[in-house]
């Protein structure tokens, strides 16, 4: 007869199949009640209505290869259109023989940024600051030219994804520091500074970006002395950066307000000056808290760049839209917009994922 030894446990049995695994998942999430079962069936029906035609249009019946409209014969999406225009979508009207400059510019940026993602590299902040200061100069020389033997490519010829990235990049990089300064200014004890910063934020936030861009492109030249003229793209860049900075300032201010008063007091009591207190104690904590808000602003800025279309700059969306009105490719707007939407999504999604990664990494340090 077998005896049960109290000290020796029999091996645990696997839990019943009705409690773990796919069957249990289906039971718990899809058919847990008559209402849920009904909703599940309804959703399945809707998916049946939507997905197969979409797949048929976008992939199964689509034409991928070819050079002209005549190659689109099977009734699905005509990706030939995108393929034929892809270089224009990417570079705008940048002269084809000079496109290597754009490629080189972005390659340099990517190479310079690689150490930022490496775990062991310890001078990340120094490198980032260096990049922000030096790279714009290199990029300007490469993209605009007119010196060092590079032929000049005026900004009116910049366009497509290239222009989108330039505007979004400058906007994102410039708006964060300006936003931080505005946020600090708004909380300053000096009335003049506080008034100026609050006034700027409230005015800029109170008007649509389109208005800011119109003002920059139409009204600004009226106020400037005759003969003095800024580049249209430069005006748009300043407009976008300042507009975005106002939003960024409010995001940062939210973070500043979340830092307990004791942190300021401890820093002051140790003899740290205002700027050292902010730079070493307050901002590192405040910015960490508001990473989601900052990235939210960045993503929204990235998409807002498409508004420069109204002042005559052809960003990715602008140039895609222009291409659909070409007589040769009439009626292919859906393909064009799907393509543009996909490009925007790739970049925005990447930003979102990267911010999650940064958040997790920063959190790991001082989690309890």
């Amino acid at each position: 007869m077998a005896t049960i030894d109290a000290g020796q446990r029999s091996p645990d049995l696997a839990p019943p199949i009705t409690q773990v695994g796919p069957i249990a998942w289906v039971r718990q999430n899809l058919v847990s009640s008559p209402l849920n079962t009904g909703l599940t069936l309804l959703c399945l029906y809707l998916l049946y209505l939507i997905v197969p035609p979409l797949v048929r249009w976008a992939i199964l019946d689509a034409d991928f290869a070819g050079t002209s409209r005549a190659d689109c014969t099977s009734g699905g999406a005509c990706w030939v259109f995108i393929q034929a225009r892809i270089w224009q979508f990417i570079y705008g009207f940048y002269p084809p023989e000079e496109r290597w400059r754009v490629n080189l510019g972005f390659l340099l940026l990517i190479l310079a940024m690689v150490p930022l993602f490496l775990r062991g590299f310890s001078h990340k902040i120094g490198l980032a600051v260096g990049l922000v200061v030096i790279y714009p100069i290199i990029a300007f020389i490469l993209f605009y030219g007119g010196m060092l033997g590079l032929p000049e490519v005026e900004t009116a010829r910049w366009g497509g994804l290239f222009l989108t990235l330039v505007i979004a990049g400058v906007g994102i990089v410039a708006s964060l520091p300006i936003g931080i300064v505005l946020a600090l200014g708004r909380r300053s004890t000096m009335p003049v500074i506080r008034l100026v910063c609050t006034g700027f934020i409230e005015i800029v936030r109170g008007v649509p970006l389109i208005t800011v861009l119109f003002m920059a492109s139409v009204m600004l030249p009226l106020f400037l002395p005759a003969g003095m003229n800024f580049d249209k793209l430069l005006r748009a860049l300043i407009g976008v950066a300042l507009f975005s900075a106002a939003y960024m300032a409010e995001v940062v201010r939210g973070g500043l307000q979340a830092i307990p008063k004791g942190q300021y007091e401890a820093a002051h009591a140790l003899g740290l000056s205002y700027w050292k207190t902010m730079g070493l104690i307050i901002l590192p904590q405040a910015l960490k808290i508001v990473i989601p808000g900052i990235v939210n602003s960045m993503i929204s800025l990235f998409k807002d760049t498409s508004l420069v279309l109204i002042i005559g700059l052809y960003d990715l969306l602008g140039i895609v839209q222009a291409a659909t009105t070409n007589a040769e490719w009439l009626g292919l707007a859906p393909e064009a917009y799907v393509f543009a939407a996909f490009c925007f999504w790739i970049f925005c999604f990447a930003m979102s994922r990267y911010s999650l990664h940064v958040e997790r990494k920063l959190d790991r340090g001082h989690r309890r």
Binding site: E265, A266, A269, L270, L272, L280, G365, H366
Partner: protein
């Protein structure tokens, strides 16, 4: 840094002088004509009911609060709205807070080396040596690479004391250092403070720990409603309180 000349001239003066200090929060008169002299090496315990202005008083000494009338002179430097004076005083005055106020995004070691490297311009290696010395003195060198929130309250407060000491201050201010601690952690913090007193640090402690006051203080200052009601050596203060308010306070606080 204060010039040596300025320091020498004040050698025989008290470290801290408060003369006729008044402060208002709006209509509320928090400090009423406070006069206090603290000699070098003197240990002062300030007690009193909550809202009596004792924290406000010591926070005025390093300008976390501004006084509106009267004079405060610390280590020969008068506290005015001149930022340089404020900075000079803050370098000489260490402060420990009720809620520790460690910097949660920095490790213990970074908390300790931050001010010496950025304010005193000490080389990093030297600052780390100093930091480890003080961490050993408060008994937790093994926690150097942890973050503040990974430590217990008592450990955090000991780190806060070490952080203030790393600036090599002439004076230490303690603002209810044990009030936010669990009872079993109070002793470890008081032990560190007692040891500090034994080494001759000039200290002002706002605390309700009457045992600490009896054992360590040279002078016990009792405050109520913004006034210094009584200030006497502990022996005198506890056995022969002068005013009714002091007697009432002592009867309430010593009951348990």
């Amino acid at each position: 840094m204060t010039e040596p000349a300025a320091r020498a001239a004040t050698a025989d003066q008290p470290m801290i002088v408060l003369r006729g200090v008044h402060k208002w929060y709006g209509q509320f008169h928090v400090l009423k004509d406070i006069n206090l002299d603290v000699q070098k090496g003197q240990r002062i315990v300030v007690c009193g009911p909550s809202g009596s202005g004792k924290s406000t008083m010591i926070r005025c000494i390093n300008r976390l609060e501004e006084h509106q009338r009267g004079h405060i002179v610390v280590n020969g430097i008068e506290l005015t709205s001149d930022v340089r004076n404020v900075d000079a005083i803050r370098r000489e005055v260490g402060m420990v807070f009720q809620h520790f106020n460690l910097f949660p995004h920095l490790t213990i070691l970074e908390n300790l080396t931050l001010a010496p490297t950025w304010v005193r311009k000490m080389p990093k290696a030297e600052a780390e040596d100093v930091a480890m010395t003080y961490l050993k003195r408060v008994g937790i060198p093994e926690q150097a690479h942890k973050y503040p929130l990974q430590l217990s309250g008592g450990q955090q407060q000991r780190v806060a004391i070490a952080r203030a000491l790393c600036m090599k201050p002439e004076i230490m201010l303690f603002d209810e250092p044990t009030s936010a601690l669990d009872p079993e952690m109070i002793k470890e913090v008081l032990d560190v403070m007692t040891e500090l007193a034994r080494q001759g640090m000039t200290m002002i402690c706002v605390t309700h720990e009457m045992g600490f006051a009896k054992q360590v203080a040279d002078l016990v200052v009792f405050m109520d409603r913004g006034e210094v009601v009584e200030s006497n050596p502990p022996q005198e203060f506890f056995t022969n309180p002068q005013s009714e308010r002091t007697k009432l306070f002592l009867s309430q606080i010593l009951k348990h």
